[in-house]
């Protein structure tokens, strides 16, 4: 199994995960939705619940792991019992309950019409440190954070080529 070098570029890993998440998780989230605006500052309605993605470690593709923190945030005024936050959290866990995420090459993508190229022979694994597949590494919350309910969900990803014993580099 040979893997082209460009498949190991970290941005391909991140964008592939974000693309996959955007296609399966219906809650609006930053970095996935280009028009993300939870407060409705652009003129739209303010959103009662949303997700905010931040990459805290990006070493998938270099024999390491990538950690993604997803904050699920809801307004306590619109969601007094944190039901929306819990529902969004659960739908996130369901959306990422997969063995692997297909890996795409985004290097040729410049405009919206451009299509990313699937990379054969390599995928992103969703796996916790103790080996559970398709599960988050950690879920904290919903806990009250000022005027919001906040759930912090952490996911751990690594490339199949990083997980296998063969030397690709």
């Amino acid at each position: 199994m040979s893997v082209p070098a460009e498949s190991l570029v970290g941005s391909n890993v991140e964008l592939s995960i974000q693309r996959f998440l955007a296609s399966r998780w219906t809650v609006p989230a930053s970095y996935v939705d280009a028009d993300f605006d939870p407060d409705g500052l652009g003129g739209g309605a303010s959103k009662p619940v949303w997700g905010a993605l931040s990459w805290v470690e990006q070493r998938a593709g270099t024999k390491g792991v990538s950690l993604l923190q997803i904050d699920v945030v809801s307004r306590r005024t619109a969601d007094p019992l944190a039901r929306l936050a819990r529902a969004a959290r659960d739908s996130l866990v369901l959306a990422l309950r997969v063995r692997s995420i297909p890996l795409y090459d985004f290097s040729g993508v410049v405009e919206e019409e451009d299509e990313e190229t699937p990379i054969a022979g390599n995928v992103v694994l969703v796996q916790t440190a103790d080996g559970r597949i398709g599960e988050p590494s950690g879920i904290v919350g919903p806990s009250p954070d000022r005027e919001f309910w906040r759930v912090v969900v952490t996911y751990r990803f690594r490339l199949l080529s990083d997980a296998s014993a063969a030397d690709y580099y």
């Binding site: 792991v65 950690l67 923190q69 904050d71 904290v140 005027e147 912090v152």
Partner: protein, 221 residues
């Protein structure tokens, strides 16, 4: 939100299985040097070997967490500490070794560690114990616009500006939120392969120590 900490547990039963597999011996009921049952089993207390090796992981974890923590005033960086304890007693009389790495800051200050680990949502800061919040910013970061004024809220802000630093006194700060630094989670991910390597080394070292005192091996070789 619970304060972040990193827990390293040496599972005694798994450890025992590994050591037994490597030594062809059964670890006895008590970790003592003599075996009261008088059979060929010799038992060492593996905890000294474990403690020696595990320091490597603890050192790595502490250094990594400190390194990933933003410097700030240095208060959080200095506060990390290791606590060692023994977990529940297992059926065979062995212990789980537990090392916990966490911040020693008082409970009221753990919110800082939390905000660094998980980041914070955009929020407002208002003075609680004084009339004004006071902070310094670099001159080039000073923007003429004053927070909160545009939506009609009463915000009083004064600036003491000497051309290099601007000292701001204000009754409201609109904090944009902070990015998570994830010191503990990143360290856990980085420490895992190291911990696994050291666990194998420990099992091998303990296994070897059993082989050395095995009388059957000595007579046959």
């Amino acid at each position: 939100m619970a304060a972040p900490s990193l827990l390293m547990t040496l599972d005694a039963s798994q450890f025992q299985t590994a050591a037994e597999a490597l030594s062809n011996l059964t670890i006895g009921p008590k970790p003592s040097r003599t075996n009261p049952t008088g059979d060929r089993r010799k038992v060492l207390d593996p905890r000294s070997i474990v403690a020696e090796k595990i320091v490597e992981v603890v050192d790595f974890v502490l250094a990594s967490i400190r390194d990933l923590t933003p410097e700030g005033t240095g208060e959080v960086r200095r506060s990390y500490n290791v606590r060692r304890g023994f977990g529940e007693v297992r059926s065979k009389g062995t212990f789980n070794l537990v090392y916990e790495i966490a911040s020693d800051l008082p409970d009221s200050r753990q919110v800082v560690v939390n905000a660094l680990e998980f980041g914070s949502v955009p929020h407002e800061i208002k003075p609680v114990h004084a009339d004004f919040l006071r902070f310094e910013i670099a001159a080039e970061d000073y923007a003429a616009e004053v927070p909160g004024r545009e939506d009609g809220r009463e915000v009083r802000t004064f600036v003491d500006f000497d051309g290099v630093r601007a000292v701001i006194y204000t009754t409201l700060v609109e904090h944009p939120g902070t990015q998570p630094h994830a010191m503990f989670r990143i360290t856990a991910a980085r420490a895992l392969p190291i911990a696994q390597r050291i666990a194998r080394e420990i099992a091998r070292a303990v296994g070897a120590s059993f082989v050395e005192v095995d009388p059957t091996r000595r007579t046959t070789s």
